[in-house]
Amino acid sequence: MMDKPKIAMYWCASCGGCEEATVDIAERILDLVNVVDIVFWPVALDFKEKDVEKLPDGSIAASLINGGVRVTDHEHMVKILRRKSKIVVAYGACSAWGGIPGLCNLYAEREFLERAYHEVPTVDNPQRLTPQRSVTVEGVELTLPEVLPRLLPLNRVIDVDYYVPGCPPTADVTWRAVQILLSGNLPPKGSVIGASEKSLCDECPLNETKPDKVLIQDLKRPYEVIADPEKCLLTQGLLCLGPATRGGCGALCVKARMPCTGCFGPLDRVSDYGAKAASFIASILDFQDEEAIEKVIDRLPDPVGTFYRYTLASSSLGGKARRK
């Protein structure tokens, strides 16, 4: 009838892997552009509010937003996008839970500015300059957006309708999600679309190799062992987070003989991925006495970076508590 529905894509603090992922739907893109207008919209970044305001509210069918909210401009812009879009989709791990850049919530922003511009051995910065919100060079005021105290997942800033998991979402997951969005009959608000309802084990080729009782005597780090390709990695003491992680990727990492690190995030009934993952791992440690438990847990110097790899920013604590 009238013109094709518009789909916008906007990126916050992301690596571009999510855009690449959409490109990876390859020839299917050509089918897609027949039914929708894909308005890539990087320009929106430093768009002044008044200009966007000119667009009628809800004029965009769906905005797929990837990347976490890192700087004030992101925050500002996604709020406007929310108003302009009928549906907002948090696309990819960073947008859904903060992703790997969310790990910077273990540090205060000044700490990583300090590191990047003053500490690293290559830096040659005699006047100890740090990028400023606003500086005047040769009479021109140059402004930079402000870095937020913490990186935030999209739903901590605006209302999110749907989530597409993955770092990045695979081409198939993306394609399924897009079809759901176009299908008209939409799932309940807040749903994760395009992926599985079950954990990765459901689609893992090694799941059936598990013994009935899954208990582990040691925590091994991937560089320490050559895993038996015929056996569930977890039962070999490798921290495979598959049991706690949403399926949908087809167990790509496990097929490459590497443990799942959880990039598809938690399942519907889990509120804090890291705490839940830690819970199941601790539970299956086959030890009774306290020292032995301490000892095996010390084999894992960085539990936060391991269990909250992609979800720290969306966790109950959201990151490191500030000092008094």
């Binding site: 309802e197 079950k198 954990s199 990765l200 084990c201 459901d202 799941n207 059936e208 598990k210 013994p211 009935d212 009782k213 899954v214 208990l215 598959g242 049991p243 706690a244 399926g247 399942l267 519907d268 009934r269 889990v270 509120s271 839940k276 993952a277 819970s279 199941f280 539970s283 299956i284």
Partner: protein
């Protein structure tokens, strides 16, 4: 439950018990402001008839579908209020109790305002949880009126007889080739003019002659499925190699070339590979110890009744029961070699060995003879293996050793009046009925009592032994030359317990004895329904106490068999198959083996056996995908309760 929750909050004054500390008015007014709360009421005694009526009326009038009662501890009145809620036409599990007496007014009475604030918090949290409660149905199981009893000692025998006489089937399983247990190997008993074997023998007769009892001797329970009401046991009959045709003529004992120490006599005598454990063993049929038997066949040749079959392999038999009684007894404390010279000198023996020596049915026909002579001076060292006297010793008191030792001192004095006896003790506890007389008697017979703080040492001077001890009363070091030393050893948890616990899922206390549901209120019941304890499986007991426990457990079992069905609280684990990935993580979490994987399509998913689940929730906290949930303690319910810890604006 999709319908909008309508919560009623009922706050009890409990007279002044609660109202004296907590401002009930304020709490009630506050409750009215909480989400989903349509009604909040207070009453003097909510548990009273009018109090309960108040709840019922409100449920009917205001169409409440959730009830929160803030009163005493649920352990006090939860049943009361569940009944009230049910009578009001609601499912009884739509009740949430808030404990504001034991856990607030009574402990915070000097901080009234803070206690009131705390109460508001607790009610807010309870309302949040209650709003998400769902109706639940009790689990019901039919009951098989039959008992499976492990252990054929006095406790097991007593329990068997009591149940059999009440008309219930009994499967009595004894691991050894003879019934009777430890008591059957005691000599003269204290207070009654009777030998252990005689006393136990009479009990055995009564049991085996009762048609309701099947005694599975020389057998073990190797598998147990099911739960309260219906257990299916697999009983493994070990080969005995000798059948009932045996006349105990003794020919075979004569020709058997193998000779080993007789464990039934605690090693003080020898036996052959084919043997009878002891004179009064039951059944009165020889048995071959397959470990040591060389299969030479000599016995077969001399056996006239042809009772011996060396090719016997044993067999399995199934038994069905509604309840299980564990009466597997204890093991005597075995001193490590060298403790008080034990194992180094034949003249250092344990109380149990002494009992055999002094029993006329024993190897010496009751003569106290050690290495050919009768000792003239004897030292009894008490509390061996008990009261933490040595580093291997248990911390607890074994209760029976004092009386038993004293009894034996008197028997020795009686038979060999000249004998000089020293009783070297840390403490003397003759608490049992009439036991004090034994102590007085010993004193009259001039047994020399020496108290120690630091345990004595036993030195071996060539032939003679000497006991070196610091007398804690006289505060002087003594060196006592003696001919023999008797160690009054205590009781350890039965060595067969680990094997038993592999089959019957029960917990044990730090000491290693089995753990009761409640030490004082439910001393003969296991935490898991349908499993009972008799005798010294739960703690050291003397004969009288063991027999009492036997009867008590029988009474409990009978009470169970009397019902045609049992009701169990439904707070069990449930799997949502749609989201279970069959990751199998939950399976190892269940201490009761209630979880397994079942085929669903081409994949497998977890499955919970309702009957086996005991509702601990360990699998739920572990389930990485949230597919496993516990009725009444679902994640969403718990999270709602937690989220209400502090007031959220607009919440």
């Amino acid at each position: 439950m999709s319908e909008e929750p309508k919560v009623g909050v009922f706050v009890c004054h409990c007279g002044m018990n609660i109202a004296g500390t907590i401002s009930v008015k304020e709490v009630v007014e506050y409750s009215k402001t909480l989400p989903h709360v349509v009604e909040a009421k207070e009453y003097l005694f909510m548990c009273s008839a009018p109090g309960q009526d108040l709840i019922k009326e409100s449920v009917k009038k205001s169409g409440l579908n959730r009830v929160v009662v803030a009163a005493c501890s649920p352990s006090m009145h939860e049943p009361t209020f569940r009944r009230a809620v049910e009578e009001a036409g609601l499912n009884q599990y739509l009740l949430e109790m808030v404990n504001i007496r034991e856990q607030s007014s009574w402990v915070h009475s000097d901080e009234k305002q803070k206690a009131t604030e705390q109460t508001k918090d607790l009610i807010r949290m309870a309302v949040a949880k209650a709003s998400l409660l769902e109706p639940l149905e009790d689990l019901r199981f039919g009951v098989q009126p039959a008992a499976l009893i492990l252990g054929g000692g006095v406790a097991g025998l007593r329990a068997s007889l009591d149940l059999a006489e009440r008309g219930y089937r009994v499967h009595l399983v004894e691991e050894l080739p003879t019934l009777g247990g430890r008591a059957a190997r005691l000599g003269k008993l204290a207070h009654v003019d009777m030998r252990g074997p005689e006393m136990v023998g009479s009990l055995i007769k009564a049991v085996v002659s009762n048609p309701n009892v099947t005694a599975h001797v020389n057998s073990e329970v190797t598998g147990l499925d099911g739960s309260v009401g219906y257990f299916k046991a697999n009983i493994r009959y070990k080969p005995r190699f000798v059948d009932a045709k045996c006349t105990l003529c003794g020919e075979c004992f004569r020709v058997c070339p193998v000779e080993v120490p007789n464990e039934y006599e605690f090693g003080i005598s020898k036996r052959r590979a084919i043997y009878l454990p002891f004179k009064e063993a039951y059944p009165p049929v020889a048995v071959i110890d397959s470990e040591t038997c060389t299969r030479c066949g000599e016995c077969v040749k001399v056996c006239e009744p042809h009772a011996i079959d060396l090719d016997e392999t044993g067999h399995d038999q199934e038994a069905i029961a509604g309840g299980v009684i564990l009466a597997t007894g204890f093991s005597p404390y075995e001193p490590p070699e060298g403790e008080y010279g034990y194992g180094r000198s034949k003249r250092v023996l344990t109380l149990f060995q002494l009992e055999r020596l002094l029993d006329e049915g024993g190897p010496t026909g009751g003569e106290l003879i050690l290495e050919g002579s009768t000792p003239r001076t004897l030292a009894f060292i008490m509390c061996v293996g008990s009261l933490g006297t040595t580093k291997n010793a248990h911390q607890y008191c074994s209760r029976m050793c004092c009386a038993s030792a004293l009894k034996n001192m008197l028997r020795i004095k009686d038979r060999y009046p000249e004998t000089e006896i020293y009783a070297i003790y840390k403490d003397i506890r003759t608490y049992g009925r009439g036991d004090e007389k034994l102590y007085e008697g010993a004193a009259e017979h001039l047994v020399k009592f020496i108290m120690f703080d630091t345990p004595p040492t036993v030195n071996m001077r060539s032939e003679k032994l000497e006991v070196e001890v610091h007398d804690a009363t006289l505060q002087e070091d003594l060196l006592i030359p003696v001919d023999a030393v008797v160690l009054a050893v205590g009781m350890s948890p039965s060595q067969s317990l680990p094997k038993v616990r592999n089959v019957v899922k029960v917990g044990c206390s730090p000491e290693g004895f089995l753990r009761e549901a409640h030490l004082k209120l439910r001393p003969v019941e296991a935490p898991s329904d349908g499993i009972f304890f008799a005798g010294s499986v739960t703690s050291p007991k003397n004969v009288i106490e063991s027999v009492m426990a036997g009867s008590a457990s029988a009474a409990k079992a009978a009470a169970l068999f009397g019902k045609e069905e049992v009701r169990i609280e439904p707070m069990i684990a449930q799997v949502t198959e749609e989201i279970c990935s069959g990751c199998a993580i939950c399976i190892a979490m269940c201490p009761y083996g209630a979880i397994s994987r079942k085929q669903k399509g081409e994949k497998r998913v977890a499955e919970v056996d309702k009957a086996l689940c005991k509702a601990c929730g360990a699998c739920v906290a572990t389930c990485p995908s949230g597919a496993m949930q516990q009725a009444g303690f679902k994640d969403v319910q718990m999270m709602a309760q937690i989220a209400a810890l502090t007031e959220k604006r607009g919440a």
